[in-house]
């Protein structure tokens, strides 16, 4: 187990370094001049030179890469070219809101998607199964920004149940949750459908297993069989995708944050990409990548924790 843990952490570290190098090279791969974009109509060759110097773009590519990686390891991600704020401060301000959005969306997806999948699996090919099938596919194929706009129209404009824009502050939790509700639902919808399909498939496979037949033979109640015995095994593939899911949700938050005018890494990236504000883009993408790596690591570890067969196989080996 310890060796596995060390290997996985080593891999995660390697991925992080690779991401940093690729991000440092991003400036030279993507077309567009950040200095002109930042300066806009007031751009002059003299000012462009100054901005390029400030961004370190006047140095050679290997030096830029080495500097970015070196500084990143020391927790220095540079300064926002426009506002002159440290990028770490911008990330510190935005990250908790993106994490709150991603985690609450994931929680919603789990809470609604898994029961929906179980429900569909109880009567395969029945009306309920078909209905949940249609619902799940519809949810999966609805982009979060479309869902977001409809939720805004319905619950912020027509019913006025939730605020249309903004983020709120953690110091006012009720207000914060009200601001979080619609974006979290918009982001979760696709994953509700995905989890429902995933759990249904796994459940159907597990329900055909011998031990389930034995459980029926013993006269156990359906509810106990489904939720205590079948789901416990059927959930393992779902847990495996949770890590990927959290990473996806962090990335997918981009559209939702922009539509709901929420603070977050997504909206920060969108604003910065347009102006080629590279220090901010690099810092935000690096943060998301590291969280993605971390979430996958945790998912892998929990997967092994949930499935005793893997531990047994490892011990036997």
């Amino acid at each position: 187990m310890l060796q596995y843990l060390i290997t996985r952490i080593g891999m995660a570290f390697l991925v992080a370094v690779l991401v940093m190098v690729l991000l440092a090279l991003l400036v030279h791969v993507v077309p567009g001049d950040p200095a002109n974009a930042v300066l806009g109509q007031r751009s002059t060759p003299e000012l462009v030179r100054t901005v390029r110097e400030q961004m370190g773009l006047d140095k050679s590519v290997p030096v830029q890469v080495a500097q970015f990686v070196g500084h990143a390891f020391r927790g220095d991600l540079g300064r926002d070219v426009v506002s002159n704020q440290p990028v770490t401060r911008l990330i510190r301000n935005a990250l908790p809101h993106t994490v709150a959005l991603a985690v609450s969306s994931l929680a919603l997806a789990i809470l609604l998607g898994i029961p929906l999948g179980v429900l569909a699996a109880t009567r395969p090919n029945g009306i309920l199964d078909r209905l949940t099938g249609v619902l799940s596919i519809s949810l999966i194929t609805t982009p979060s920004y479309v869902a977001g706009l409809y939720l805004l129209l319905l619950f912020a404009l027509s019913v006025k149940l939730f605020p249309a824009v903004g983020t709120g502050t953690f110091s006012h939790p009720i207000d914060y949750l009200q601001h979080l509700a619609l974006p979290a639902v918009a982001l979760a919808l696709g994953w509700i459908g995905y989890f429902a399909r995933l759990v249904r498939t796994s459940m159907l496979e597990v329900l055909n297993a011998n031990y389930i037949r034995t459980a029926y033979a013993y006269g156990l109640r359906d509810r106990v069989i489904f939720y205590r015995h079948a789901l416990r095994n059927a959930i393992i593939p779902t847990v495996a995708v949770l890590g990927v899911g959290l990473g996806e949700l962090m990335g997918g938050a981009v559209f939702v944050e922009v539509i709901f005018s929420r603070v977050g890494l997504g909206s920060l990236i969108v604003e910065s990409i347009e102006t080629r504000n590279y220090p901010v883009v690099q810092g935000c993408v690096l943060t998301i990548a590291l969280l993605f790596v971390l979430a996958n690591l945790l998912a892998d570890l929990s997967y092994r924790f949930l499935d005793p067969r893997i531990r047994l196989e490892e011990s036997a080996a």
Binding site: P31, G32, D33, P34, N36, A37, V38, L39, G40, Q41, R42, S43, T44, P45, L47, V48, T50, D80, V82, S83, N84, Q85, L90, N93, A94, L149, L152, L153, A156, L157, K160, P163, A164, V165, G166, T167, T169, H172, I174, D175, V258, I259, F260, S261, R262, V263, G264, S267, L268, E271, I273, E274, T275, R276
Partner: protein
């Protein structure tokens, strides 16, 4: 905290504008007060809010198109900051709200010399800076102007130092008096430099004390002082209790207890935010105008800006060197169709560079070229060109740009020119000089002119701007000389003649197709009367309730 003191605290936050009515009601009821009593309490306090009625002037919530980035007047990146800073700062002079009439603001008296190179000023006494930074003195004026001009030591690299290029020095002659001394006559001083944010007076002490933080903690003398900036969420201002009243000689006292700017970049989301009451007022896109106009709860205002958009032709490119080819393109492009499709018919057709609202230099008789395919084809035949292939670049974020590019593509196909559309990120589209300029052929661009100063519009098209912003690569010595002359001409009629001559000359050289003089639209609650300059710049501190 006891329930009683909790309610007291909430009442305080509500009256100071730190809470909206909705949040106030939630928290007061959570603290044990009945909803009815809480509602009554909010009513008695006259709380205005995004979700409540605008019956009394509480906090005004304004949609900002984007978040603020840098609130130092010497470095502000754009209009989002300008909208905030008009509440916080004041200049020696300014445009009276709603007009282009120049009036003294921080200046008590204001006297230009006969040769137009010296401007004596005397400040109003006792005007205080925010945050306890003391009284405004002539030394602050000197510091503010010379700082932006790059004349202080160490010099700062302000992108606006060109607007102060004519400044020799500001001579302080007394605690409240001084003289602005110019190297030469400089007409934009009174139409752009002094009345805009470039002429704002900052506190020398605050700049020194705050260092880098000054960019996010502005200290001015305006009717509202800066409270906080939460990145991506809001910029909060509150009424400055020690306001020196410089504007009150021209308009009534501001009414709002506070002003908040909420960044909402997506146009559709902004429409929903205004319609739902999450914000009280804000700029809207042309596509949302009709829905607001048809709703009696909202008021819509419009101002034709001094901005201009055009389809440019890079005459340095071999494909566009021949004037006959450019004539063919001019006659083939259907501008009215572009206006209808790209801007929902809500923007005016541009016929030349300077818009009708420009006090100096508007060319009233400028031609509006009609689409004429026969003429276009004959020009193309005269050029002896066939099977021509061109590229057309546009920024993907420019309003209507994609539609415009497609219409141009279809229009030019009608005369046998094949157009490849290149929709680009702003940073790619804005690349200056080098290969970017060499490869540029057709392009669609929109430039802003924030103040009623014609040279701000013409300066980009002079010889000195070739390989910078003059993407047509059109260098005409006469045009450039007239431009330089107009900047030093103080007589408005003579200036006007020069600018009209420049536009006529440009028109004969056929390297642009003028598209639009954009109109800015604004929507808000019916009871809010905005204060808008003729070009659409809004001064929220002067907004009123009707």
């Amino acid at each position: 905290m006891s329930e009683h003191s909790q309610v007291e605290q909430l009442v305080l936050e509500l009256t100071e504008g730190r809470l909206d009515r909705r949040t106030f009601l939630q928290r007061v009821t959570a603290a044990g007060l009945s909803l009815g009593a809480a509602n009554a309490l909010a009513g008695v306090l006259g709380a205005d809010s995004a979700f409540g009625s605008a019956g009394a002037a509480g906090v005004l919530r304004v949609r900002a198109v984007g978040d603020v980035q840098n609130l130092d007047p010497a470095f502000i990146p754009g209009s989002n900051e300008g909208a905030v800073l008009t509440n916080v700062y004041e200049g020696l002079v300014g445009f009276k709200p709603g007009t282009y009439k120049l009036v003294p603001v921080l200046a008590e008296r204001w006297q230009p010399s006969k040769d137009g190179r010296r401007y004596d000023f005397t400040l109003r006494k006792g005007v205080k800076f925010h945050g306890g930074y003391g009284e405004v003195t002539a030394a602050d004026v000197k510091f503010s102007f010379e700082r932006t001009a790059g004349l202080t030591s160490p010099a700062i690299d302000s992108p606006y130092k060109g607007d102060w290029a004519a400044l020799q020095e500001v001579r302080v002659t007394g605690r409240y008096s001084g003289t602005i001394i110019l190297k030469h006559k400089f007409a934009p001083l009174l139409t752009n430099t002094l009345p805009s944010f470039i002429g704002y007076i900052v506190s020398r002490k605050a700049v020194a004390d705050l260092g880098n933080d000054f960019a996010h903690h502005p200290i001015g003398t305006g009717p509202y002082e800066f409270v906080s900036w939460t990145p991506g969420q809001r910029t909060v201002l509150k009424k400055f209790e020690g306001y020196g009243g410089s504007w009150l000689r021209h308009v009534k006292a501001p009414i709002w207890s506070g002003i908040e700017f909420l960044p909402i970049s997506v146009s559709n989301a902004a429409t929903i935010a205004i319609q739902s009451g999450a914000v009280d007022w804000g700029p809207i896109g042309p596509e949302a105008v009709d829905s607001f106009k048809s709703n009696s709860k909202f008021r819509v205002d419009a101002r034709t800006t001094l901005n201009y958009s055009w389809i440019g032709m890079n005459i340095a490119h071999p494909n566009l060197k021949d004037v006959n080819v450019r004539q063919a393109i001019r006659y083939a492009i259907d501008v009215p169709s572009i206006l209808a499709a790209a801007f929902d018919g809500k923007w005016s057709r541009a016929r030349s560079l300077l818009a009708p609202g420009m006090p100096v230099g508007y060319w009233k008789q400028a031609p509006a070229y009609k689409r004429d395919l026969n003429k276009a084809k004959s020009f193309l035949a005269k050029a002896g060109v066939s099977g021509l292939e061109l590229t057309m670049a546009a920024s993907r974020t420019a309003v209507g740009a994609s539609t415009i590019a497609q219409i141009v593509q279809a229009n030019l196909a009608d005369i046998g020119i094949k157009v490849q559309v290149l929709m680009q990120d702003r940073s790619v589209f804005n690349q200056l000089g080098g290969d970017a300029q060499k490869n540029r052929q057709l392009f669609y661009e929109l430039f802003t002119t924030p103040t009623p100063e014609p040279s701000f519009a013409t300066e980009w098209f002079t010889c000195g701007q070739v390989n910078v912003w003059n993407w047509q690569s059109w260098c005409n010595r006469q045009f450039s000389d007239w431009d330089a002359e107009a900047v030093k001409t103080l007589d408005p009629e003579l200036r006007s003649d020069l600018y009209i001559k420049m536009q006529k000359l440009w028109d004969r050289k056929v390297n642009v197709v003028w598209v639009a003089w954009p109109t800015n639209y604004f929507a808000g609650k019916k009871g809010i009367k905005p204060s808008l300059q003729p070009s659409g710049f809004y001064q929220t501190w002067d907004f009123r309730l009707t």
